[in-house]
């Protein structure tokens, strides 16, 4: 009937195991047997079984209920049927409380077992179908390891596909943890430079002189400690792509050097006199508002326009909360597997809590929160309690500086308009007021648009 499902029969009586196995095999199941709880667990570690028939009383070693509890630590979804010849209501209740799906008294009517097995398998088939559909759905919303069904993100995915094989520089803007490097990688790995290097450099991590040497390389003896000639990241990335992360943090001198590379496609190593020509696609990323930095004179305007040929702005996680369930399920599956934990799901309450959180650290913070919750979780399903640590952060993030109520209202309107990119209708919806009221307030507070 179904050859894809495995069944394990655990009973200390060999004849019980073998005869039951033979009977189930005739039905098309792949059946293994174990003569003790210990042997059953050893087999479970090697293979996953859809149904476990476990004898309650096994004189040697661990009994049926203990075996079941250990099995469930390995496979939380295991369907366990407890078998006993010594039926009492107490043991039945105890077995069911500990997670047994059914409790049967042997000998059992063949039709009863047959119906029980097919009922469990029917549910297993539905669960498997559900998992496949979920994965397909996730696949639909996955682009180069980035998961989203948010309209703005989907626009970014199409843009990435369009620009992947161009040479134009790209400026990726977005808050920390929104996945700027992932987008940069997606551009590189979807385009015709895929076989060439992708080099990511964090400009904020290094001091000016070190960064200069890191980007352009140096000649032997160029400075104290330069005992050998060294290739810079631009040379290593030749033919490929370089990601200059946190570009907003680089010094005026480096800004000028970068401008030269972008204009002339050549540079000099530190301490060198030989001009080195490279073909590198530059992608810059930053969490700061570069236009604002230009206005304040902190960033060169000419470099800004050289970098900003194609602009991608990644929305913050709080502005795409519809992605939180997808991202959560994906992180949960991966992290739980990596940590060898049996946490396989998240409660609706916990998911609601995650969707209400502000996520100042964006997707990276969400990933870390899921990992932390899985590490401390003692159950198979993450609950609201597993995310209590978010409450403390939330309280902290809501610390308000001294200001009047009017000032607060003005700030709230400015922030909402910024988030909605000036869309008054959307901003009014988010603020819970009607559009005309918002227009009045914009006028009243003299908010520039």
């Amino acid at each position: 009937m179904n050859t894809q499902w495995n069944i394990l029969v655990v009973d200390d009586e060999e004849i019980t195991c073998e005869s039951m196995a033979a009977w189930l095999r005739e039905d098309g199941y792949s059946v293994d047997t174990a003569s003790s709880g210990q042997e059953g667990l050893e087999k479970t570690r090697l293979k996953e079984y859809a149904i476990y028939f476990i004898d309650l009383k096994m004189p040697k070693g661990i009994d049926g209920i203990e075996t079941m509890m250990e099995v469930k630590k390995i496979y939380a979804d295991a369907s366990v049927v407890i078998i006993t010849a010594y039926a009492t209501v107490d043991t039945a209740i105890s077995a069911m409380k500990e997670g047994a799906l059914e409790y049967i008294v042997k000998p059992c009517n063949p039709q009863e077992i047959s119906m029980l097995v097919s009922r469990i398998i029917k549910v297993k088939n539905l669960e498997r179908e559900n998992t496949i559909l979920r994965q397909k759905l996730l696949g639909q919303y996955t682009f180069n390891d980035i998961i989203s069904k948010n309209a703005k993100m989907l626009e970014i995915f199409s843009l990435v596909k369009e620009i992947s094989s161009l040479r134009s520089t790209v400026l990726i803007q977005g808050e920390s943890g929104t996945g700027k490097e992932l987008i940069a990688r997606a551009i590189h790995f979807s385009g015709d430079r895929v076989d060439k290097p992708f080099i990511a450099v964090s400009c904020a991590a290094l001091a000016e002189t070190l960064l200069e040497s890191e980007l352009f390389g140096h000649e032997k003896g160029a400075f104290t400690g330069a005992v050998n000639q060294k290739q810079g990241k631009f040379e290593i990335a030749d033919g490929g792509t370089i990601l200059l992360d946190e570009i907003g943090d680089i010094s005026p001198k480096l800004q000028l050097d970068l401008l030269r590379i972008l204009q002339e496609k050549s540079f000099y190593r530190v301490g060198g006199s030989e001009e080195i020509k490279v073909d590198v696609r530059v992608i810059a990323a930053t969490h700061v508002d570069l236009m604002e930095a230009v206005k304040q004179g902190k960033f060169r305007e000419d470099l800004f326009y050289r970098l900003n040929v194609i602009n991608i702005h990644i929305p913050a996680l709080r502005d795409r909360i519809e992605d939180i369930p997808l991202l959560t399920k994906s992180f949960l599956e991966r992290i739980s597997h990596e940590l060898g934990k049996s946490v396989s799901d998240i409660s609706e309450g916990a998911l609601k809590k995650l969707m209400e959180h502000q996520w100042p650290g964006n997707v990276r913070e969400l990933e870390n929160a899921i990992e932390r919750a899985i590490v401390t979780c003692k159950e198979y399903v993450l609950s609201e309690n597993d995310f209590q640590f978010l409450n403390r952060k939330e309280e902290k993030s809501w610390t308000i500086p001294p200001m009047t109520l009017k000032e607060m209202e003005r700030e709230a309107i400015i922030a909402t308009l910024k988030r909605t990119e000036g869309n008054v209708k959307e901003a009014a919806f988010q603020l819970g007021i009607d559009r005309s009221t918002l227009y009045d307030k914009i006028k009243y507070y003299n908010i520039p648009r």
């Binding site: 009937m1 019980t16 039951m20 033979a22 095999r25 098309g28 042997k106 000998p107 009517n109 047959s114």
Partner: protein, 187 residues
Amino acid sequence: MSRLYILPVNSPEENVLLELEQKLQPIIGWEIRRAASMSIPPSAFNAVRNQYEALHIMREIVDVIQIDATRILAITEEDLSIPMLTFVFGQAQLGGRIALMSLARLRPEFYGMAAKKELCLHRAFKEALHELGHTFGLKHCPKQSCIMAIANTIQQVDEKGIDFCGGCSTLFRDARQQIESLEKESV
């Protein structure tokens, strides 16, 4: 040459054996021989349940098995069971050599009804071919009209058909061919 042995266990009714030998031969296509009658060892009897342990009997059959038997169909009048189940109509080694069936629950008398010879023979044929099907590697078939459909009650035995369905028929023919080739190679 492939052979099917009919093995009487604790003297089943001779008429049933003769009828089965006659009806099974054209389907199996092999020579059918009668094995020497065998008695069930007392250790296979479960006094509490008043039944015989099917697997225990099958293990005894392994010891008395005919060397030239390609398949053995053991038939008994005794009521059979396995520890987990209240009864079995029969049991077989999936893809193995031995099948065992009981006539006890195929007889209308078992259910307090009047004896009906034809009905019993009809049921016995279905059960015999079903268990033999398992020894050819066939599993239960989801088609209720197929002889390989599972039957856990006498009503289900009566409801199912007397032939293999198209799929099971192909599987049966292929398995038979494979068994015959293997036998030829070993000779």
